[in-house]
């Protein structure tokens, strides 16, 4: 093989595909691509052949048949007369609910623990280390099962609240009842109900919810505008106007007005027959799964946060102190913005892990996507391949959405290289 480039006037010959450096890499890539495609085609074809040999076809029609089974936790109205498709959507919503709540709680917990591990207090820091090591090094499924067993065995059945002298009584101002089936929490009642907006497909949203969303989002943007104006004044005059009380008012006063207008109040759960009614019963399966996912993923996030903070060199905070910045300003303006660059990429992985780990829900009978589409629906229809393929696609799409969202955030906190 010669390294000298060939004269340009040489006519193209087939042997050049192997011997000419300009073409060689391309040749090998094409060969590998063909081999990969052939393998994929062979796998798919083999599957189709074997299905045909068993007399089975590949058909998603089962999604439009009556499901016939009930689901304990339904974010949208669902009865056993609905299609398997709707059962699948209910399961998907359950997955999304537990994933979002898990991500939020795990982030809060992880950041607190991660910062606490860097505490000057020796005992406090060691305790946090113990927490992180215990939760990080035991499989999640075991945590789910042990927490479930604790909830099942230690909490009383609802009947323990019955009678004139019950063995158990409700906690938190008589509002919350812990049982071995669910945690009964108060529901929100309204004296001035504005009615609901019908979105079709038997899904309704109360106007009050929409009003609160509008007010909160509006408040957030108003706050941003106020801060921008304060920054502009500071740039012009060097004096920063006091904004905290205006921001606080913008964020809270409209919500308080709405609460007063709708007459929001708590409806405490009461024992009715076998179970509590009137409030909201958070099933133990949901509480346990959420708790386990939070504690487990929180331990990983704590390590990520700690590593991110340690990655910012000590000189940065010393320089900030030398300029006279207070510790909390130093953290917010100097250390965290730099630490976030290190924190966010592994944090994306943790969110993805949490979402995928939520499919362990079946261990405690929480009917998520895996429990509905990949569980009962798969069983009752016998469409294993279709159900599993569809489930893989849904999880893939969810993961890509989380990744995309976090990547947008990441690009905003990245070092701006100019």
């Amino acid at each position: 093989m010669t390294d000298a480039p060939l004269p340009a006037d040489q006519p193209f010959r087939v042997s050049m595909l192997v011997y000419d450096r300009r073409y060689r890499s391309m040749t090998f890539q094409v060969i590998v691509f063909i081999l990969v495609m052939a393998l994929a085609w062979w796998l798919v074809n083999n599957t189709i052949q074997n299905l045909a040999a068993q007399g089975k076809d590949f058909d998603f029609g089962f999604l439009f048949q009556r499901a016939g089974y009930d689901i304990p936790q339904t974010p949208i109205p669902y009865t056993s007369d609905d299609w398997h498709l709707r059962a699948t959507i209910v399961g998907l919503l359950n997955t999304i609910i537990v994933s979002i709540l898990g991500c939020v709680a795990a982030t809060i917990l992880g950041v607190s623990i991660g910062v606490a591990r860097l505490s000057k207090n020796w005992l406090f820091a060691r305790l946090m280390t113990i927490y992180v090591e215990i939760f990080r090094n035991i499989p999640l499924l075991l945590w789910i099962l042990i927490i479930y067993a604790i909830f099942t065995e230690i909490m009383p059945p609802p009947s323990a609240y019955r009678g004139d002298d019950p063995a158990w009584s409700k906690i938190l101002f008589d509002q919350v009842a812990l049982t071995n089936r669910y945690t009964a929490i108060p529901a929100l009642g309204m004296t001035n109900d504005p009615g609901t907006l019908d979105l079709g497909a038997r899904i309704t949203v109360n106007w009050a919810v929409i009003a609160f969303l509008v007010v909160i989002i509006g408040g957030w943007f108003t706050r941003g505008a106020i801060l921008d104006r304060a920054q502009a004044i500071q740039d012009r005059t060097g004096i920063r106007p006091t904004t905290w009380w205006i921001n606080l008012a913008v964020m809270t006063v409209p919500s308080l007005l709405l609460i007063w207008y709708f007459g929001l109040h708590l409806l405490a759960p009461e024992l009715q027959g076998f179970n509590f009614g009137g409030g909201i019963n958070l099933g133990n399966a949901f509480v346990v799964l959420w708790l386990a996912l939070t504690l487990y993923t929180g331990a990983f996030i704590a390590e990520i946060v700690r590593a991110g903070i340690l990655a910012v060199s000590h000189g940065q905070s010393e320089a900030a102190f030398a300029l006279g910045l207070r510790p909390n300003k130093t953290m917010n303006l100097v250390i965290l913005p730099q630490a976030l660059r290190v924190i966010i990429p592994p944090l994306i992985s943790q969110y993805l892990n949490l979402m995928k780990n939520s499919s362990l829900a079946i261990a405690v009978g929480y009917m998520d996507l895996r429990g509905t589409l990949g569980g009962t629906t798969l069983n009752q229809t016998g469409r294993e391949l279709e159900a599993i393929v569809l489930m893989m696609l849904i999880y893939l799409v969810l993961s890509l959405i989380i990744s995309a969202g976090m990547n947008v955030f990441n690009s905003r906190v990245k070092l701006k290289e100019r």
């Binding site: 052939a38 062979w42 074809n45 083999n46 052949q49 074997n50 045909a52 040999a53 068993q54 007399g55 089975k56 016939g68 089974y69 009930d70 689901i71 304990p72 009865t79 056993s80 007369d81 067993a149 099942t152 065995e153 009383p156 059945p157 009947s159 071995n180 089936r181 009715q272 027959g273 076998f274 179970n275 009614g277 019963n281 133990n284 399966a285 079946i362 261990a363 009978g365 009917m367 429990g371 569980g375 009962t376 798969l378 069983n379 009752q380 229809t381 016998g382 294993e384």
Partner: protein
């Protein structure tokens, strides 16, 4: 040219894989072992004992088939399957037959491409509640929390029954019988529902079986039977007629005790054909003539199997009821051996 050879070989490989599924009898004989899909643990029907030996009503059927096909009832590999994995295990060829309290339904027989080889237990779905709940009828369970095994017909029957009676309920989905037991014992559900035979078996495993009652209502028909893959009719016939042989043996009074004697002395032509003394029934299903004799010797006839595993003398304590011979007012009716 090369490409066509490649495609051709793939097609042949695919066909071969498909064909390989089709002759279960040859596969079992070549393997020297019967793979039998059973329950993960339901006392009386299929459960490993303290020494790890599987025993139970369904297990004995596996043994009878192994004895008929391989000549040795111990040549069985028991594959525990959950309600969710059982049919996949069968259609993928992981097991040769399924003896796992599975209900014979239209869609399983047609759409799932299974063949049910008969009914070895006529069952129905019921409900179990603790005695101190003070409930005497399912009609009083409105608003109750009920544990169900997910992926079973039970789940659908429960939804249908409560809907038909216009009652609310809160399902707690569980994955296995053991988990259901744990939840029920802890009081996490008011009632546990599954087939009545399963309830009796579960209750027998409790420390205080007398404190739990099985409510009188039977809310569904659950004919439980062994299943095989669709499309291998000869293998299906072997399983079907092995079960029939056990039922017929009880009807004609052939037991594992007197079978050797009857081979020599029986005057009944049907018994002679069943035991292979006359006729060529074995050859018709690709076995030798003593297949049914071996099957009956493996664990006894249907009545003996019933009495030993789930009968009234056992902790399970099930009466024959619907599962008595047709001559005794039950539903068991073996087709004639001729």
């Amino acid at each position: 040219m090369k490409k066509t050879v490649f495609l051709g070989s793939i097609a042949v490989a695919g066909m071969a894989a498909g064909m390989g599924m089709a002759d279960t009898l040859a596969d079992v004989k070549a393997r020297g072992e019967l793979n039998c899909g059973v329950n993960t643990g339901l006392v009386g029907f299929a459960a490993p004992d303290a020494n790890g030996n599987w025993a139970g009503f369904d297990i004995d059927l596996c043994k009878a088939v192994a004895a008929a096909v391989l000549g040795d009832p111990s040549k069985v590999k028991y594959v525990p399957t959950t309600g969710q994995t059982r049919f996949t295990a069968l259609s993928s060829g992981e097991v040769d037959m399924l003896a796992r309290n599975s209900t014979w339904t239209f869609s399983r027989d047609t759409d799932l491409k299974l063949d049910f080889a008969g009914v070895n237990y006529y069952d129905g779905q019921g409900f179990m509640v603790p005695k101190d709940l003070g409930v005497t009828s399912v009609k009083e369970l409105g608003g109750a929390t009920i544990c169900i095994q997910t992926g079973t017909t039970t789940e659908l029957n429960l939804a249908d029954y409560f809907k038909a009676n216009d009652m609310e309920y809160q399902p707690v989905n569980i994955d296995s019988n053991a988990e259901g037991e744990q939840q029920y014992m802890a009081g996490a559900c008011d009632a546990y529902t599954t087939d009545i035979s399963g309830l009796a078996a579960t209750r027998a495993a409790f420390a205080d079986p007398e404190n739990h009652v099985i409510l009188p209502e039977v809310v569904s028909k659950e004919p439980l039977g062994p299943a095989v893959r669709h499309g291998d009719n000869n293998w299906g016939d072997i399983v079907r007629w092995t079960l029939n042989a056990l039922i017929a043996a009880e009807e004609y009074g052939v037991t594992s005790k007197n079978i050797e004697e009857l081979v020599k002395s029986s005057e009944n032509p049907e018994v002679q054909r069943l035991l292979g003394v006359s006729g060529e029934l074995g050859a018709m299903i690709g076995l030798d003539n003593e297949w049914a004799k071996r099957a009956i010797q493996a664990a006894g006839n249907y009545g003996e199997i019933f009495a030993a595993n789930i009968g009234e003398q056992t902790p399970i304590g099930l009466t024959r009821g619907l599962n008595a011979q047709w001559t005794q007012g039950g539903l068991l009716y073996a087709q004639p051996f001729r």
